[in-house]
Amino acid sequence: MASEMAQPGFWARVQRASVERLHIRLESLLVLVALSAAMALLSPFFLSLSNFLNILLATSTIGVLAIAATFVIGSGGLDLSLGSVMGLAGVAGAFVAVNLGWPPVFAVIACILAGGIAGYINGQLVTRAFVPAFIVTLGMLGLARGLALVISQGRAIYGLPAAIVYIGQGRPFGIPMPVIILVLTAIVAHCVLAYTRFGRHTLALGDSEGAARAAGIRVEHHRRIIYTLSGALAGLAGLLFTARVNAGDPTAGINYELTAITAAIIGGTNLFGGRASILGTMIGALIMGVLQNGLTLLAVQSYYQQMAIGAVLILAVFIDQYQVRKESRV
């Protein structure tokens, strides 16, 4: 079988190298750079270290949720409960630290545990009851939010201990703690997804469940782990949120799951599964962060910002599908 492809041009080779070596799509990175350049030209306040740290800080909570979304969507699933679970986890942590008065480390554990349990339940329902993930996680969205309101009795829980507040507002070496936590989480998550068996099996699962099964991958077991992991990450995001606003807020994270999924898609995750990269998702989250930051600095109303984000999302998916259709043989 002779090769039917012409020798690919320089640009295509650069694109491919970017995907293979760095696991990111070159287009996303270029859009981020171009957008940043545009903002720097338009606003004298954009280009400064403190503003960059500000952008990273603003992106940190959503970033952690986007990492969760990347794993789930990459495996062919969907988690609409991310924002609500985040709110529940934050309230759980605040409850443990304030109402129960336990040491801060228990509050941290409570956040991640609450998220993980919610994710575990999602996983059980999706794999054993065969209810579609869309519906299961939609149900959990309401369940978690309701539970958060019950635990907190509808009010924010104030009075968090200093150690917890430091997680959200501390600046070791001048870098905000949430940024450090996000970067560490992203690095670990990226390595897992791109370089370990578990990560590769996750993407294979999203690509073709039949292929995964034929390869001996325990499909249902794997999915359960993914959903539990997603919940635990939402728990971590809940901890960051609570620490940043210094309150266990039951209304935290409303609509955050949509933003997280948007970041993953803009970053090159295939909504139907099989292709995902954590670095790509981080770039997607940063694109949204730069857009919001820049437009705020330019005093553009937040409603227009939402329109801009929507437009970028549609554009990103269009470009993505264009590439996919060009490459595949349909």
Binding site: T196, L203, G210, I217
Partner: protein
């Protein structure tokens, strides 16, 4: 020496009975053709061998071991491989990822972290296997979804052959291929036989089946209706056994049950 022995295999999906007690045996280095009309249960039977489906009743012995309780991964390790009709490839992954899916080689990073997949090693071995098959692919690193049908099948074949299989099941391997490619698949089957690897070939192209198999098993109404020796039979006999002669009422009943 019998490599694979199926006895009394039954399988239903809800109210639909597909396999009604199938007996089948394959010897090492033997090529067995499995033919039958649509809905006879050929693919289902094969999937009970690879473990994708769990048989409701009956026994499966492979290489002297009872494998009924083993999952697909474990059965692969014993040497059972299958090239599926739809190829079951992960279209967005590259060649090496597909070949090694589920059994990726790992290495330690910085001498510290285990569990990292050894991509370089995977690529190396995948390239070697592709070369052994005498095929040329556009690139080891492109997603297989961008390959032609024949190239994708090469990847599926490589996946089945890389890990020293003892039994290779091929489900309609020539259905979508050009003439030259069909011949290379048949040559491949002959090569496998000469290496002592057993092959089960499912195909509706009876000329191919007659040209390359040692035995032909006809599946009808979820049962192994005939077990013919290829050298002693001909096209007419095979077709009439597939269609079933005068047994129209049984055919109608089977179709009715689904």
């Amino acid at each position: 020496m019998t490599l694979l022995s199926l006895q009394g295999i039954r399988k239903s999906f809800g109210a639909v009975d597909v396999l009604h007690g199938v007996d089948l045996s394959v010897a090492a280095g033997e090529v067995v053709g499995l033919v039958g009309d649509n809905g006879a249960g050929k693919s289902t039977l094969m999937k009970t061998i690879t473990g994708i489906y769990r048989a409701d009743a009956g026994s499966i012995e492979f290489d002297g071991k009872d494998i009924l309780a083993l999952d697909p991964g474990q059965r692969r390790e014993l040497g059972i491989e299958m090239i599926y009709q739809d190829l079951s490839l992960a279209k967005q992954q590259d060649v090496a990822s597909n070949i090694f899916l589920g059994r990726e080689p790992t290495r330690k990073v910085f001498g510290l972290f285990p569990g990292f997949v050894d991509k370089a090693e995977m690529d190396r071995q995948a390239a070697k296997m592709i070369e052994r098959l005498g095929a040329r692919l556009p690139s080891i690193n492109r997603s297989v979804g961008s390959f032609s049908g024949g190239q994708q099948q090469t990847v599926a074949i490589a996946r089945a052959l890389t890990f020293n299989p003892k039994l290779v099941i091929m489900d309609e391997p020539t259905a979508a291929l050009a003439v030259r490619e069909v011949q290379s698949v048949l040559d491949l089957i002959r090569r496998l036989r000469s290496e002592g690897i057993a092959v089960i070939l499912i195909s509706h192209r009876l000329n191919d089946v007659l040209s390359v198999t040692d035995r032909i098993v006809v599946l009808r109404h979820g049962r192994a209706d005939a077990d013919l020796v290829t050298s002693k039979t001909n096209m007419n006999e095979v077709v009439s056994r597939i269609v079933g002669g005068g047994d129209i009422s049984a055919a109608a009943a089977h179709e009715q049950r689904g």
